[in-house]
Point group: C2
């Protein structure tokens, strides 16, 4: 813990839901557990709660530290905390680990009550709506009828959008950051490469690797490496690594010799040791399946009709995973559906990952949006 502006030590909470949850795929989940963190205090009117939604590989640990010795704070610590963009002096922030995750909420690593074994590959494939529905149960549990805001970046932004469609009366503001109304073929293609990397790893064993105490680390590592390239911009890679060599001269071999190679290998290694492969597969599929216009013949304007929330759509200039033009698709459909929306494009060289960093204008825009009268 080395960050004075952080909210400090945080202890995750957990809640068990005993009732069945009907999923979008048609299956029922016979009860589930959800792990979450909260920052700040719920006011008496219960009107200051903000739901923060994580992206592909995130978790409930969005801000603060779990231990004094923890070196890295939660994934959105730069934006959540006292006087930060999501100000914990003003708001009660709730950050759950999503269903299907691998950080405590029921997912492929959890025990299937019907078999008394880990779900593994049998955990149902989810859609964003399943998350929205399960988060609504969490809201009920916390006695929060209406979120002051639901906010997230990337896949998290898609959840904010889905909340505003599925529970229009329970959300006042939607912060849709670095998102898209659905994945492009190229987005799906990158996800598919990640999935193939995992499933073609011999250690994957059709997803039953837990039974042999192994994990398809090599595949997960590759999946993360390819994902990571899409999170950064060409520009940020250039300024971070350029073509710098680790040694002075070319090695004429296959060891990592450009800085960017070591970096990617390191990212992949670290990730493959902590993340669950079945969860990763599942999360990429949730992304691929997100498409609120789908049931309206592709008409996003119709899909957005129920929305009552005020929306802020944020995009980043160098994001090529979900580029500003994808955010504009959301904005334009919201405008055409006559919804309250503003769209700000933040100038940032950091690619898709920009949403994780407290660029001044980004922080100011988000703070003002959350504080404004809707």
């Amino acid at each position: 813990m080395n960050n004075k502006s952080s909210i400090g030590l945080i202890k995750p909470s957990s809640v068990k839901f005993d009732n069945s949850l009907l999923l979008e795929c048609g299956k029922e989940l016979k009860g589930f557990e959800m792990v979450y963190e909260t920052y700040g205090k719920l006011n008496e009117e219960k009107s200051n709660a903000i739901l923060v939604c994580h992206a592909l590989s995130g978790s409930h640990h969005a801000a603060g530290y779990h231990k004094d010795s923890e070196e890295k704070a939660g994934w959105w610590d730069s934006l959540i905390g006292p006087n930060k963009a999501i100000d914990t002096n003003k708001y009660f922030v709730v950050s759950p680990n999503n269903l299907g995750g691998c950080h405590g909420t029921t997912g492929p690593k959890s025990t299937n009550p019907e078999t008394n074994q880990a779900y593994g590959p049998d955990f149902p494939v989810l859609r964003v709506r399943d998350w929205t529905n399960s988060q609504a149960l969490l809201a009920d549990h916390l006695d929060i009828n209406t979120w002051h805001a639901v906010v997230g970046g990337s896949l998290g932004g898609m959840q904010a959008l889905d909340w505003s469609i599925a529970y229009p009366k329970r959300i006042k503001k939607a912060g849709v950051i670095a998102a898209a109304p659905k994945l492009s073929a190229q987005n799906i293609a990158f996800n598919e490469v990640a999935r193939q990397a995992i499933t073609s790893d011999p250690d994957f064993q059709e997803g039953n690797y837990m039974q042999t105490n192994t994990s398809p680390k090599s595949g997960l590592r590759l999946a993360r490496m390819v994902g990571h390239i899409t999170y950064l911009s060409d520009e940020s890679m250039k300024s971070k690594f350029g073509r710098e060599l680790k040694e002075e001269k070319l090695g004429f071999g296959f060891d990592a010799e450009f800085q960017v190679e070591s970096y990617l290998r390191h990212q992949g290694d670290a990730f493959s040791k902590t993340f669950d492969a079945n969860t990763y597969l599942l999360m990429t599929k949730v992304l691929d399946y997100f498409d609120p216009a789908d049931e309206f013949d592709g008409d996003l304007v119709t899909a957005f009709k129920p929305i009552l929330a005020q929306a802020l759509v944020l995009s980043f200039s160098s994001d090529w995973r979900f580029s500003p033009s994808r955010s504009k698709e959301i904005t334009n459909a919201l405008i055409n559906a006559k919804k309250k929306v503003s769209h700000i494009e933040i100038d940032s060289p950091l690619g898709h990952d920009s949403f994780l960093f407290p660029e001044e204008r980004y922080v100011e825009v988000l703070k003002t949006f959350l504080g404004s009268q809707s």
Copy 2:
């Protein structure tokens, strides 16, 4: 063979060089064999020869058919042939398989005369200059003192550029298509993912897979899949596949269900059955190592000083692997070095692969360039 405008049946040739070739890495190759194809006729003055250089996964089979039953013509058949951009009625076209390749020219699959076993992973890592030098020996063998032109796309374009630097008096025109003066960190990162996919496949066996009659097909398949994404534009993927599903409804499973998934799997499967993994590793490394400005403290203008050839730099609007701005770097340095250069950006939705397709303006520009007085 189903293409009337093709040059028709072609038989590859081969030449064996007995002398040692000193490589950029410092090692010597004790003789080598080079496979090549020729199209058209060499004129009496030997002034109409064009060298065509292939890219990462190409071969000497650039035009025509090897068998009547062959369904697909050579990789550049749409541009090489009678009355085509590279007109075989006018030019004598030479298309070799590069050193280190897996289509007949000496490479990792070939027998190392010193061990009487396949080179495998011991085949030296090459640089573009090694190809230029070996292609110069081929020119000698064919009694061609000066190429009318050296032309290629992508890694092939880098060879055209290198020819104009290394043998300024032996090349009149350089066609540098969809290339870059060096790889960006992002380019290297994609190559590194491809390499890691191959080397982490248990069947790779540190490159000695030939000894056990296996091949790291799974890794090679992944490498091709990720490469393929970078060859297409987001736009062309969208028009080719959109988000079309194979079945009408979402499958909530991990079979290929979007069209783009099947396509990528198919591309990867086909490639992994025919291409050699050690060659693929080598080719990506040649790409990473290309950097003519390297020995001049990064000064491309100085690197280009020796050039005498007239250059045509061609780029494609939707190419994000080597975008038009990368071509402009080449062009600007050539201008600053006071060389004869023109740069045309072709409007094409097909991404990096655009250089393989006979877009009308592209064909016209290339044809005019080759036919003009230099």
